[in-house]
Structures are given as C-alpha cells and as structure tokens.
Amino acid sequence: MPHPFPSQIPVESYSTHPMKPTLFQKASLLIAALTAAVSLQAETVKVGVLHSLSGTMAISETSLKDVLLYSFDEVNKAGGVLVSGKHYLIEPVVVDPASNWPLFAEKAEELLVKDKVAVVFGCWTSVSRKSVLPVFERNNGLLFYPVQYEGEELSKNIFYTAEAVNQQAIPAVDYMLGEGKKKFYLLGSDYVYPRTTNKILKQYLKSKGIPDSDIIEIYTPFGHTDYQTIVAEIKTFTAGGSATVISTLNGDTNVPFFKEFANAGLTSENCPVVSFSISEDEFRGLPAKALVGHLGCWTYFMSIKTPENKAFVDSFMGWLKAPKVTGVDYNVSGVDPKGRVTCSPMNLSRIGVHLWKQAVEKAGTFDVDKVRDALVGQKFKGPTGVVTMQANHHLVNNVFIGETLATGQFKIIKTLNGVAGEPFSEKFLTTK
C-alpha cells in the first residue's frame, strides 16, 4: 500500500553538512564568511526525528514531528546548544518510517550510521520501539521515547520520558477504587501494550483484594467494529452499578465502542470508562458527545493552568502558523495549523529535547556515553512543573486524572505530585 505523504525530506538532501564540506562548498563558505559578518557563522548538530509521517500511525505521530521541530526552533532561537563555548544550532534530520515496523529499524540505522545524528527523538508504538532498540544498542545511539508504555524494559540507549504503568494505569485504578468501584472490565486492543498493562493491573487489583470473578479481561483486534457482545457483557457486569471499564483500546476502534456503549444506555455516571490511549490529539477524530464524563490519566493536559503551559500552548500555536527552524537551512513542510491541540506525548517530546540540551551542555560534548551520565538527575521546569530524570531513565513527573468535556479538553479532577516512573512492575507491586 502506498502512503499518503511521500517521505517528506529525502535524507540525501543533507549532503551540505559543514562537517564534511566539498571543495566547492568550502569555497562558498569562505566567500560567505568574508562577505557576511563572522558572527552569523554557527556550527550545527544533526538531530534525528523518527516518527511515521504516513500510514496508520501518521495521525498521531505527525503531531510529534511538529512539536519536535518547534522545540528545535525554541532551542536555536535561544542560541542553540552551548558546548565548550561554542554555539551549536540543531539541524533536524526527519525520516519517515511509514508506520512500518522493520522500516523503523532501517531508518534508525540510517540516522545513526549515515547521518551520524547526535540523538534521535521518535517512535510511538511499543513494537516500533522494540524494533529499533537493537539498532541503538549496537551503534550506541541515543533515543528519547515520549509515549506512555507498558514498561518491563530498560535500555542504556533509551530515555523514556513517557508515562510508565505506575504513572498512568495504577493511579487511574487507584482513583476508581477510591470512588468505590469494585468490578473492573479491562478492555484493550490486541497487542503488547494493553496485554502487558492489563497483566500488571490484574496483579495490582488482586493485591487490593478484588477477586478474580470481578475482573474481566477482553481484547479486540485492530479495526474491530462489532462491540455488541462486549457492551452487552458490560451492561450485565455493571447492573449493580459498581463497575468501571479500563480501556486500552487504540485509535479509531474507540468510535464503534463508545457508540455502542451509549446506545446501550450506559453513561459515565453508571459505568465510567478510563481510557489510556485517548489524549487531546486523538480526541480530534472521535465523537465528543459520546465520550463526555469518561476519564483520562496523563502527566499533562492542555487545560492545565500554569503560566508555563499557557506560554507553551500560545507559542506552539503561533509557531504552527509560520513553522520554521531558526538558524538552519531547513524547510518545514506538512504542518496543518487548523484545530490543533497539545497533549501529553507532545509535551514529553519537547521535555526530551530540553533535557538532552541541558545534559549536553553539562557534559560539554555530544558523546553519547558522557551525555547519558549527564542526563541522570537533569531537571526541567515544564508546563506541569519540574520533572527530573532518574537513574532508571524514567522521569519523576506529576500525574493528573481528568474528565472529558464536550470541547475535547479535560477537566482535572485529581493531581498526584512527583510520581517516580518505574518500568519494572515487580518493584511497585511488591512495595506496599
């Protein structure tokens, strides 16, 4: 199947890199240097963006590409990355792995070996991350991963700015237990993230005294449209009124599910649904009415009222209208400024860029091993408060539970401050 957008920026067009200039380029650079002010000369550093711009994941991942370019622009505007007295401007290398998992590995290899990028920001699905992991380990690259995931993984070459299970699923379930819910219907798409998350949740619920008979675990294939049986089952399950649905359904299967759910007379009042895969960005493609009152749990909501968040949202919206990356010869294309929102993976992508910049400046080099050491303990004041990178490559972050409004935004109903991300479930399951 061909893809809607061809790979937007052919990687070959980056041959004009100042580190390996041709004779002609050297000459033109010299002329430029002689004619223009010397201060205009700045070193650049190549940074990879590995997000699908075509195929099924394009809808979600294109927004991350946008926010990454915005963050590069933000860094460059402030003078770039300062390494031993020299300013390096970020030069993006954007590739399109086209929602194709093996292609992710190929493109990652290309970024690391051919373009020699200093760092890569990318991946959405867990399967794409698993596909590039050996490439990063083999070439000792550095990857920042911004999307909530199932944990049980820790690579020295990956930094997970994403929500770990104990920063999303566990707080949400805790909240539901606190609301007096006693029966849990775990519904998910059939792949690694929902299955692993639900496995952990089941153990967790059991440790909280919920019997097996009050937990139902169900999976549906991608693109499933027939939710009649499942909704009928939920209806019976919730007849006593103390049940809740924990949904890890992905993408547009949410539409037939929520339509069927509403048709059966179920509402957020008699059976609330907590969805882990619906953020503000996904909401743009869903029927708002059917989702009102259901819950989400993230480390960021667009509706968070802090000056930092207002500044981020305003400046990002402004950037979308005239997208550019300051200081480098890079043409931003494919940005649609209409009806845009910010969401947790976008915020975490941006935080990743800033943490990396700070770590490079602390290490005084782009060398991966030194930057990795410098990253641990790095703090950044983001839209939701200060985040800290831990030695386990996960963030300490604030967690929010929000209720969906008809506008596609979330009303925050509970805040948990400073939750330390922990990838391995046995650690947070045993510590009571």
Partner: protein, 580 residues
C-alpha cells in the same frame, strides 16, 4: 401523610453497610418540604431559582450538593428543566459587562441563521444586550457550564427524587430503579405512597422491585424472606449482583444451611440466572442477526458484481467508502442549510441513503465504462485494475477530506435501544436488519420479477446467446454494475451509523465481503444471505466464550475447512459466464 410518624420509628441501623445519612436527610427534607408546601400553598419560585443560580456558580462541590438538596421540594417545573439541561451539557454561562455571570438556556426557537435568544434561568427572560435588545447566541459557539461526575451524580439524585412525580413513566421508572439500588429503609414509605398512586404497569413493577430490594435490608427475617422471594418472582436482574454477594455472605457466615433467608436467596438467584440465560440466548440471536445483516448489506453489492458478473472487484470496499462519505457530505449540507438540530437533521439520513445510492452508482457506471468493460475477458487484469482504482479512490478521499476520520452523527431515532425483558435491541441494529431484508427482497424481485432482471440473468448465463436474441448486453452489463455499486454505496451509508468513516473504511470490510460471497456460492444471492447469517450468528455465539480475536480466528478457520470440503461454496450455481 399518615405514614410519617411510623418512619421515624423504623429509623434504626440495619445490617446494611452503605447506610447513608445524607440521603436520610434528603428524604426528611422532601417530606418537610412537601408538608410545608401543603401548609403554605405558595412556595416562592424566585427563591428556588436564585438557589439554582448559587448552585451553578458555587466553586465548592459540597456546598453545591447541600444547595441541590434544598431544591428537591420545589414545585417550579423550571428548576427541573434547568437541572436536566445542566446535566446534559446544554446550560450556558454569559459574562455580563459588569463582570457578573448569568446562566441561561437557549430558546428552542431559532432564527434563520440558527441563532437563538438566551433565556436567563432566574426569570426565563431573554438576556438583554448593550442596546437592550435580546442577545442572540449561536449554539455551536457556546461552551456548556462545567460539571463533574460527582456533581452530575448529585444532580441526578436530586432529579430522581423530583422524577418520582414526573408525568412521563420512563423517568419515574429510572428514578425508582436508581433509588431502589440504595437499599435505604427510609425510602420505603415514599415507595409505598408512590405505589398506591402508580398507574403505569412497568413503573409499578419497578416499584415492587425497589420495595423488595429495600426490604432485604431489614434486620427482621419476617420482612426479609418474603422480600427475597418477591425479587425472584419479579426476575429482578438489577438486583442479581447484590443477591449473589448476599448469598455468598450468608454461606460464608455462621448461618445454618437450612436458614430461611439462605434458602430464599438461593432460589431467587437460581430463578434470576435462568431468566438471564434465556435473555442472553435471545440477545445473542439478535446480535447474530444484526452482524449477519451488516455483512449482508456490505456483501450484497459484491454478490452482484462479483457473483453474477464475475468481476473480481477489489474496489468494492472503496465504493462503500464513497457511500459513507456521501452521507457525511449530505449531513453537512443539511446542517448548514437547516441548522444543527430539528426535523431536517432527523430525516437527513434517509436522503443520504438515497444520495449514496445515486452517487455510488454513478461512480460504478464510470468505472465500468472507463475500465472494466475492456477487461471482461481478462479477469486477472480486471482484479489488478480495480485494485488500482481502490488505491486511487482512497488517496483522492484522503486528499479531499483529510486522513483523519470524519464524524457522521446519528439521528435520535437511530440512537439508543429498545429493552424488552431486560434484553437490549439497539435501534441502529434493528434498522440495519430491516434494511438488509428490504434490499435483499428488492434485489430478488428485480432479478426474478422484472424484464430487466430477466435480461440480466440471460446475459450472465450466456452472453453470446443473449446478444443474438437482441439483448443489449453492453447496456445490461453497465446497469448491473452500477446497481451493484449503488448497493455498496448504501452499505457505506449504513455502516456510517455503526463504525468509523475514514479513507480506510473499505479495507475493513473487503475481506469479509469476498468471504461471504465465496462461502455462499458465487452467483447465488440466496447463498450470500445464508452465508452471512451463518457467519454472523456463529461469530456472536463464539465471542462470549473465546473472545473477539479467537472467535474471529475460529470462524475463518471453519470457513477454510468448509471450502476444502465444498470448494464452490454452499450453493453451487452452474453458469457458463465464468468460463468466459
């Protein structure tokens, strides 16, 4: 009010854990207010309205809950209307120039542009603008007043108490069920009083259920045991989960095995479970039929173009997508012409259904004339060509409408469901079943009862012979393909009510469509009907046991095995057309 003194006597703590003093207070308040209303016949509506405004603008949830409780006895019908609107997200807030805020509802009458006056909740008068003329609001630009689930629950509770006196039996029923689940002994006199007045049989049944369920909370076995028996006689599905845990609690406790309560609850649970199993059977059958109808609607067009005409039409799914997008466009046109609600939007779907037939038939016509007619003798090439067309159509739609899914709304008569004996029949599913029956009947009549149908069958059976007998085979081919495509378009319109509308819509259904047609036997419409019924019902029977994923795998594996045994499908049609 004769029962009033007796309630207070019954106010002793029972074995119920979720004893709720707040609700007791509510009840007492109701009674007090009812009494007050009886004594002084003029409750001031304005005070209720100003309390309402305070509830809406209070930032504190517990204060809101207290104020809401105060509203329960209000006789002003406006209070209920405002609360209902608030809960449903159609109460709005206007920022006055002086910095204060006014909550308002939209006037149901709109002007030509869909704008309406905002009626203040304080006095039902329009909100004046700077020039003293009523301000006009556009519904699409307004943001509803905020609520949270907790607040909505409090509002709902208030409304439930108010709804016990609602003239509409549906509201009374919901309220009774909800209040019955609380198992609060203090509600008994209220239920009893209501039960004496109640005329509607369904509400009476629910009242009896609520009474029995509440009485199970009584510490006195002489009250509890008959109540448990009554629940069984009433087949009370809503109390099943309570009864199950109650039975378990009794068994685990020091209760002797021949305890009367235990025996009663055991029998009741068995009765209700049997009743529920029967309901599940009917429900599964209905869901099976409904899935079968969806498959049938989707595959019928292919049964014509592939089954009868022998064209391996890989673009069939995309023709469905064209139909679905036509529905979307018609919806938007209707919305922009007649405003976001009202009769036109309720009936637009029927127009959309017809339009999607016409539009898709036209696309099919162009496809047949432009590509397929040159490839009738080369089936493999027609497969490649139509596959190319499918990709082309997907890209065109992605380009025009964007890669994201579009939202097609459902008219209210296609939302919700009919509940008979605790079995759900969703309206949109009922509609698809009827629609499937209708188009099968229509297609069958067209093929067997009209001269056009005779010509179609003649051409499909033996093109050369039909041609020598004076049938214009080219025209018949063209029209048959257009008809098959039109059916696909209507299928797309139907599917827009059930699933997603996006450029990839066709891809989700194309495999199922071919599967159904091949399984049913190529060239046999009756076979297509049987195959979709078989697949639909089997899938729904297997799903509760095996889950959606394994269910589907099992169905596919069964079909593969079946086709090994009968490669030509269920019904074999002997025809020469396929031999070229």
């Amino acid at each position: 009010m004769a029962f009033l003194p007796s309630i207070t006597k019954e106010l002793r703590p029972g074995p119920v854990k979720d004893w709720s003093p707040a609700l007791a207070a509510i009840l007492l308040l109701v009674l007090c207010l009812v009494q007050a209303a009886a004594a002084a016949t003029t409750p001031a509506p304005s005070s209720a309205r100003s309390t309402l405004a305070r509830v809406i603008f209070s930032p504190d949830i517990s204060e809101q809950a207290t104020l809401l409780r105060g509203l329960i006895g209000s006789t002003d019908p406006g209070v209920e209307a405002v609360l209902t609107a608030w809960r449903g997200g159609s109460l709005f807030v206007h920022d006055n120039p002086d910095g204060s805020q006014t909550a308002f509802l939209l006037d149901p009458t709109t002007d030509g542009d869909g704008h309406a006056q905002g009626l203040s909740i304080l006095d039902d008068q329009p909100i004046p603008g700077p020039d003293a003329k009523p301000l006009l609001f556009s519904p699409s630009e307004l943001t509803p007043a905020d609520t949270t689930a907790k607040l909505r629950k409090a509002i709902k509770n208030t409304l439930d108490f108010m709804a016990l006196g609602n003239p509409d039996p549906r509201f009374r029923k919901d309220a009774v069920v909800k209040l019955g689940q609380e198992r609060n002994l203090e509600y008994l006199p209220l239920f009893e009083a209501r039960a004496r007045e109640e005329k509607d049989p369904e509400v009476s049944r629910r009242l009896a259920e609520a009474l029995a369920l509440t009485r199970t909370a009584s510490p006195d076995p002489a009250v509890r045991v008959p109540a448990l028996r009554t629940l069984g006689e009433l087949r009370s599905v809503t109390s099943l989960s309570f009864l199950q845990s109650f039975e378990k609690k009794l068994r685990d406790g020091p209760t002797p095995p021949n305890d009367e309560s235990l025996l009663a609850v055991h029998k009741t649970v068995l009765d209700i479970e049997t009743y529920q199993q029967r309901g599940n059977l009917i429900g599964t059958a209905f869901r099976g039929f409904s899935l079968a109808a969806v498959l049938l609607v989707a595959a019928l067009g292919l049964a014509i173009t592939f089954g009868l005409m022998g064209i391996i039409n890989m673009a069939h799914g995309e023709l469905m997508m064209v139909g679905a997008y036509t529905t979307y466009v018609v919806q938007n046109l209707v919305r922009s012409a007649f405003g976001p609600s009202g009769l036109p939007l309720e009936t637009y779907f029927l127009v959309a259904l017809a339009s999607s037939f016409v539009v898709t038939a036209a696309v099919g016509l162009i496809l047949e004339q432009g590509i397929i007619r040159f490839l009738y003798r080369r089936p493999l090439e027609s497969m490649l060509a139509t596959w190319g067309v499918s990709l082309l159509l997907q890209q065109v739609f992605r380009h025009v409408f964007g890669a994201a899914n579009v939202q097609v709304g459902s008219p209210s008569w296609l939302s919700g469901s009919l509940v008979i004996q605790d079995v759900l029949f969703a309206y949109n599913r009922i509609f698809v079943i009827f629609f499937a029956a209708l188009i099968v009947l229509g297609t069958w009549s067209l093929l067997t009862r009209t001269s056009v149908g005779l010509q179609i069958r003649a051409v499909m059976q033996n093109r050369a012979m039909a041609s020598t007998l004076g049938v214009r085979t080219d025209r018949v081919n063209m029209l048959t393909f257009a008809y098959g495509s039109g059916l696909a378009g209507m299928a797309g319109a139907c599917l827009s009510q059930i699933g997603n509308v996006g450029p990839g819509l066709g891809q989700n259904y194309i495999i199922d469509c071919f599967m159904i047609v091949v399984l049913g036997g190529i060239g046999n419409i009756f076979g297509t009907v049987t195959a979709s019924l078989g697949v639909g019902v089997t899938d729904q029977i297997l799903q509760p046991w095996l889950g959606a994923v394994m269910g589907k795998i099992t169905v596919l594996a069964t079909i593969i095995l079946f086709l090994q045994w009968r490669p030509a499908g269920l019904f074999v049609t002997r025809s020469r057309s396929l031999e070229g």
